[in-house]
């Protein structure tokens, strides 16, 4: 048996130390200024048995497992922590987190800072705080502890933090703010703020409704319609043109209200809490670069984990409030936050270090057309090996049924295209509509990838969801309660046999699909050079040499020349040359020039000053020679770069005269006092733009495109990992121990803090066990499962089973493997067509007659979950009917 994954890819180019991640919780209170509420750098574990108990000092090695539940074994005896003097940089960091001037904005603010030395990245989220109206009981405890501490340290009120630190170096009390949190002030504020965001939400809703959406049925003729819509929607939702519009609930607060007493929540807006993660960057340039690439491309995941951390800190603060004894209270607080931080560190470490599938089949197939045959061969071989292995239990059929049902991104890839294929029938046509969309309405492809990988029912639903919501408003809850329809799914393959798990992962990497991402980079060598197209107008002291058109017959146009050989060659092809003998004149420029020329031809006779004073340089043959005068002269001599050659011979004197003229012009402008005041009303500004702007050519964008090897799609397809990883769309682990521990809370977290940047209704996990040959689906919606099992067994879809069988039989008959893969695609397309039949059938059906479906449509009851899920991607009402 051959092993699938010989070399696995990983982000990390070097060791990553857990202590590189630091957590600071800071409070900014109007009355008492800033206080550090937590700094992991200042906390040390006190342990009787071990002297160097700081767990951050013993990072796991690269190959070894890094266990999140490390605290679990010590649960009987929680560790004791000591708080030492905070590091010297906390004041500066506090300044960075909150800024020098506080903002009145109530929602959460996100900040990222880059600190040069020592190189660090800091991600901060600043929240306003919300306190529950305290019940009598909790107030008493708080009051008690407050008083007892006041007796011990009379000065603490003024400067809690320092005093506490001085006291034996042990941080005993630093959350006095809790005692002061009685929500006396501003009771009505909260309501008006709710109202605000309500308006904002309806604003985005109405803007969605205003946008034209193809009718649900029209997606049939064009296969890419749903992909297109989803992306178009994203582009619109994040467009600047409509001004800022919060897209979904932005009212993210730091919640300190006890669940038991949040009947009347009020808010203190003058208190903010910042949570900061500070990551020390590797010293070496390349590693530093690698980590930053990783960090910024995976940011949504970081943020999602930060939100989880925030929730844990909230809980810690609320829980410890209930404890009367102050030192014990601190210990509980520190323990809880340290545990959450430990989990955060592990997650980041794992995400960074974990091995990825080195050659995901689908992504490799669509990016490397030359090796497609070999890929197909290998894929089919692996698949038939696995089929034989789990034949009795229909393991592969069950697994693929689950994967095709829940990872639905394959559906748009088989929806028939209305466009003829570009090259061959086998090569699937790249979606031209989407391509055009990306150019004209940019959305974030990284985002789209994340959605494709994780999404179950497409975001397309969101569009309809809004419409339905609208209908609900109008028709009075006709449809009843509506859950948000976005569901997300991940797949975990469990098994002790590494090569078997890797085989399963390899096969699934064909069915769990996302689009390929291409990065366009500036060719090496050009990047750092200022005089390249990146910076078409090098910012050097330059002369603006403007010459009147010598030949009145010549077409006036704007031409820009640059004092760089390579560049001029380049510009020549794209820009019109002003020389009469030149044959390449860009049509639109000519048109523009003629238009203006006709109106204002008199000014052609003017001198330099006249032209400069004139407000429309387009009327003339204008050449911008950019570069210092000396350089310009040199260029001219070396030159022959342009046919016109005008302006080359200008001596320095006239050059300087020109500069003075320009300056004189400018100063005379401001002397006239017609300054546009910064505070001019936007409307006036808007009205003032009747004038046509000077047109300049858009600098050419020359970039080599390369498949972005490290992109999100590949990065979320994990290999055989030492332990369960919550972020991966697909990965393998050796035992389901850690899975059982944290899967449910992870799924809940996914629903609460989706990395998708949009609401998620349900999170699912497919667990495939290669030892037991079982496939189960775990959902965030059903907690309890019979017999201590994780989820429910998957019913094998007959269609899927037939599909795999027929493909593998063809393969066994020695039919070319690329043809077999094409046949597989054809059969997946059949599934799509069947789902259309089902969707149509379900319209107006009150009862589903399974027998009828079977006879007429060839659909059996085992196929219905799969086909319904597929149908929900193109016909959202199906989800409604079947739920």
């Amino acid at each position: 048996e051959m092993t699938c994954v010989s070399v696995s890819f990983s982000w990390a180019s070097a060791e990553f130390d857990l202590a590189q991640i630091r957590l600071i919780v800071y409070q900014d209170c109007e009355r008492r200024g800033r206080q550090v509420l937590f700094d992991s750098k200042a906390i040390h574990k006190l342990d009787a048995s071990e002297l160097t108990a700081d767990e951050t000092k013993t990072p796991p090695n690269r190959s070894g497992a890094c266990h999140i539940g490390s605290q679990a074994s010590e649960k009987d005896k929680p560790p004791t922590y000591q708080y030492t003097r905070p590091a010297s940089d906390v004041n500066m960091l506090g300044e960075m987190m909150f800024g020098s001037v506080s903002m009145s904005y109530k929602g959460s603010t996100l900040k990222i800072h880059h600190i040069r030395s020592p190189p660090q990245l800091m991600v901060s989220k600043v929240f306003s705080t919300r306190f529950g109206s305290s019940t009598s009981g909790s107030t008493n405890t708080l009051q008690d502890s407050f008083e007892s501490v006041s007796q011990t340290f009379p000065n603490t009120l003024l400067n809690v933090f320092q005093n506490v630190v001085k006291c034996e170096g042990v941080m005993t009390l630093f959350f006095f703010f809790l005692a002061h949190s009685n929500p006396v002030d501003m009771p009505s504020r909260g309501h008006s703020e709710d109202g605000d965001s309500g308006i904002a939400r309806s604003a985005s809703l109405s803007s969605l409704l205003a946008t034209p959406l193809p009718s649900p049925g029209s997606s049939f003729s064009s296969g890419c319609a749903s992909s297109y819509q989803r992306r178009w929607h994203r582009s619109q939702a994040t467009s600047l043109q409509h001004g800022p519009m919060p897209r979904w609930n932005t009212e993210e607060m730091f919640n300190l209200s006890d669940e038991s007493c949040n009947s009347n929540p009020a808010m203190i807006r003058r208190k903010k809490i910042a949570i900061s993660i500070i990551i020390s960057l590797p010293e070496r340039e390349e590693e530093n670069h690698n980590f930053q690439e990783f960090f910024f491309s995976h940011f949504p995941l970081f943020e999602s984990h930060m939100n989880k951390l925030k929730t844990a800190i909230e809980r810690a603060m609320i829980v410890c409030r209930r404890i009367a004894e102050s030192s014990q209270r601190v210990q509980v607080y520190l323990c809880r936050v340290m545990e959450a931080l430990g989990e955060f560190r592990m997650t980041v470490w794992n995400l960074y270090m974990a091995p990825r599938i080195s050659e995901p089949v689908w992504l490799s197939m669509i990016s490397q057309s030359t090796e497609r045959n070999l890929l197909c061969q290998r894929f089919l071989k692996e698949m038939s090996l696995l089929m034989d292995h789990g034949a009795k239990s229909q393991f592969l059929s069950a697994l693929l049924t689950a994967v095709l049902t829940h990872h639905l991104a394959w559906v748009p890839t088989v929806m028939p295209s209305s466009l003829p294929p570009i090259k061959t029938a086998c090569q699937k046509p790249a979606s031209q509509t989407v391509d055009l969309l990306a150019k004209s309405h940019p959305y974030n492809p990284l985002w789209a990838q994340l959605v494709l990988l994780k999404n179950v029912s497409f975001t397309l639903h969101r569009v309809y969801y809004c419409i339905i919501l609208f209908v609900v408003c109008c028709l009075g809850d006709l449809y009843g309660a509506l859950g948000s329809p976005v569901r997300v799914c991940r797949t975990v393959v469990v098994g002790r046999r590494r090569e078997l798990v890797q085989r399963v992962l390899y096969i699934l990497s064909y069915f769990i699909r996302c689009s390929d991402l291409q990065e366009h980079v500036q060719p090496q060598g050009q990047r750092e050079n200022l005089d390249n197209p990146v910076n078409p107008y090098p910012l050097k002291p330059a002369a603006c040499v403007i010459e009147k058109a010598l030949n009145p017959e010549s077409v006036p146009s704007t031409s820009v020349e640059l004092n760089n050989d390579t560049l001029v060659t380049d510009t020549k092809s794209t820009n019109p040359s002003s020389s009469p003998e030149s044959s390449t004149v860009r049509p639109e420029c000519t048109e523009m020039g003629q238009e203006c020329f006709g109106e204002d031809s008199d000014s052609v006779g003017g001198g330099l000053e006249h032209i400069l004073a004139n407000q429309s340089p387009l009327l003339h043959r204008v050449q911008f020679h950019i570069g210092s005068p000396r350089e310009t002269e040199n260029e001219g001599q070396a030159g022959g770069l342009s046919g016109a050659g005008c302006g080359r011979g200008l001596d320095r004197k006239s050059h300087q005269r020109l500069l003075t003229d320009i300056r004189r012009n400018e100063s005379s402008d401001s002397a006239l006092g017609d300054s546009d005041d910064e505070e001019t009303s936007p409307r006036e500004l808007y009205m003032a733009t009747e004038q046509k702007e000077y047109e300049l050519p858009l600098p050419s964008y020359q970039a080599e495109s390369r498949a972005s090897v490290n992109h999100f799609g590949r990065s979320l397809l994990g290999g055989y990992c030492p332990q369960y990883m919550p972020d991966f769309a697909l990965h393998g682990i050796s035992s389901d121990l850690s899975l059982k521990q944290c899967l449910m809370s992870d799924l809940e977290h996914t629903v609460l803090h989706p990395a998708l940047d949009e609401p998620v209704a349900e999170a699912l996990c497919i667990v495939a066990d290669t030892d037991r040959l079982s496939v189960q689906v775990v959902t965030s919606q059903r907690r309890v499962c019979e017999g201590g099992r994780l989820g429910r067994d998957v019913m094998v879809s007959n269609l899927v089973h037939t599909l795999i069988t027929s493909v593998l039989q063809l393969y066994a008959l020695n039919i070319a493997s690329d043809f077999c893969v094409m046949h597989l695609e054809d059969q997946l397309q059949e599934l799509y067509f069947k789902s259309r039949s089902l969707a149509e059938y379900l319209i107006g059906q009150t009862r589903v007659h399974v027998k009828e479906l079977g006879l007429a449509l060839g659909i059996e009851s085992s196929d219905i979950p799969l086909l319904a899920a597929v149908a929900s991607t193109h016909s959202p009402y199906v989800a409604q009917i079947l739920l």
């Binding site: 150019k439 959305y443 046509k692 054809d826």
Partner: protein, 516 residues
């Protein structure tokens, strides 16, 4: 990129100011949202702006009236600004001192104030990201520009990139940082040269050391100098044109930095055949045009008719036929009766010629239109109404008037597909739409079988024994096997040329790689 770029300056007299702003204006959507105050939430933002922190208020009070200096200005008020147009996408990159879109004015103002007055950057020079859902998200890079006349011999600037898509902006951090640094460095270098030459002419430090310090005179002494514009600091008369180009490029490049390769399913054989036919027709037409000066037969453009395809209902022509007509397969079946219909459908599926005689061409046409849906497009050759008999190889649907004689040589259980189709048709519980989708499924299913058989028998040239195995795995054996095979063979003639030639070349390529 859904973003804008702005150059901001912290004026010693007037505080943070927006100097120059490049925004990307996208081609209008089919129904653009209402501009200006009609945008919901606009008023809220204004209100919010009023209530914004200390800085905002301090600034607005400080800048009442025309209290503005050259340092706070980029383009003269009369300057119309710059524009660059991306021909490919229609996006226009506009540069002015302030954004032209009113709703963006306060967004940029907010970003400017925050980048220069509120946010703290260690060392005061460098990148920061900040923002929230309400005010948008900002990537800001602050930097100093040398000025021999300024306090501390330098002035403070920032370039901000503002967007609503937080994730995209953060994803773009490394890219933005790399390229903004280039722009900033060239600005700084340019200003440094000017600074050095000015210091040569008149060393300011000495001037300041020697001049007697007088608190009363000091602000007035310097106020004139505080107003130096960036143009004068860099001695770059095309500064703003250059920045416009830089910023436009940045917006374009950052937007197209990553592109997504999105695949969709291969077109169905029906689509391919339709396209091929259209191309052939167009070629013929153009040939005719050349020869006879143009016979204008209005043909729908390729894309149009492909878009409008709906194979099971063929086209809208049916609506034009007057008089009685067949509306659907079910209708036809009801009229003919189950057994006659089955006979008819059987022959259609088998590729036998169907001759329909009658006085009403419209009726015949409608019957053919309905029957066509049973077959792959590539298998349909119809002559709706002919004055004489046409041979079977020329057409499998032939309409004839009652008096046209039929030649003597024309005169002769069922396939699985037919049985299934009958089940669907006879079930009154299924709507016409469901039946047609059902038919589509069956056709695609059998067309996929046809592909396998074609590959197997025609391309690879396998023997009878192997072919039998393939038929078995395709589910074509068993009862009705003979008919199934007949159907498959007939349908093979309906495969597109493209598909066939692809399989042929793939084999050749495969052979070549094997022999290597």
């Amino acid at each position: 990129m859904n973003a804008l770029v702005a150059l901001c300056h912290f004026c010693e007299l007037h505080g943070p100011r927006t100097l120059f702003c490049t925004e990307a204006v996208h081609p209008p959507s089919p129904s653009p949202p209402q501009p200006g105050p009609a945008i919901p939430g606009d008023r809220d933002r204004e209100a919010d702006r009023e209530g914004e922190g200390l800085t905002m208020r301090a600034n607005s009070s400080a800048t009442q009236g025309a209290d503005m200096c050259e340092g706070c200005r980029s383009l003269p008020a009369s300057h119309p600004g710059f524009v660059s147009v991306d021909g490919e996408t229609g996006i226009r990159y506009l540069s002015h001192q302030h954004p032209r879109q009113p709703q963006l004015f306060s967004v940029v103002r907010q970003a400017c104030v925050r980048s220069l007055s509120c946010e703290v950057c260690p060392g005061r020079e460098g990148p920061i990201f900040f923002g929230d859902e309400q005010h948008g998200f900002v990537f800001s890079h602050t930097f100093f520009i040398k000025d021999s006349l300024a306090r501390g011999f330098q002035r403070w600037y920032s370039i901000v990139v503002v967007a609503m898509d937080r994730i995209y902006l953060i994803n773009s951090w490394p890219f933005l940082l790399r390229h903004l640094r280039l722009t900033i460095q060239s600005l700084q270098n340019t200003a440094l040269k000017v600074f050095d030459s000015e210091q040569c002419v008149c060393p300011q430090r000495a001037v300041r050391m020697n001049s007697a310090f007088s608190p009363a005179v000091f602000p007035h002494q310097r106020s004139g100098n505080a107003a130096r514009s960036l143009t004068s600091l860099t001695q770059h008369p095309n500064l703003w044109a250059s920045l416009h180009s830089s910023f436009s490029w940045l917006l374009k490049a950052c937007g197209s930095r990553l592109t997504e390769k999105l695949l969709e399913g291969a077109p169905t054989e029906d689509t391919l055949v339709l396209i091929e036919r259209q191309t052939e027709q167009e070629e013929e037409m153009s040939g005719w045009d050349g020869a006879e000066g143009g016979v204008s037969n209005p043909q729908p453009s390729q894309s149009e008719s492909v878009q409008a395809k709906d194979f099971q209902f063929d086209d809208g022509r049916q609506e034009d036929i007057l008089g009685p007509k067949f509306k659907s397969l079910r209708h036809l079946r009801q009229v003919l009766g189950a057994s006659d219909f089955r006979q008819l459908a059987w022959h259609v599926l088998m590729g036998n010629q169907v001759i329909w005689r009658g006085a009403d061409p419209g009726l015949i046409q409608s019957a053919f239109n309905v029957l066509k849906a049973l077959l792959p497009v590539g298998c349909v050759r119809a002559v709706p109404y002919s004055p004489h008999y046409e041979e079977a190889y020329r057409c499998n649907f032939l309409g004839l008037s009652p008096d046209v004689p039929i030649p003597a040589h024309v005169s002769s259980s069922g396939p699985t597909l037919l049985n299934k189709m009958e089940v669907a048709l006879s079930n009154e519980n299924l709507s016409v739409e469901v039946v047609s989708l059902c038919l589509l499924c069956l056709k695609e299913e059998w067309m996929n079988k046809v592909k396998v058989l074609f590959k197997f028998s025609k391309v690879d040239g396998r023997g009878k024994e192997d072919t039998q195995k393939v038929l078995a795995l395709l589910g074509a054996t068993g009862p009705g096997e003979e008919d199934n095979v007949r159907l498959l063979k007939f349908w093979m003639t309906g495969l597109s040329k493209l598909y066939k030639s692809h399989l042929m070349t793939a084999v050749r390529v495969g052979e070549r790689t094997l022999s290597q």
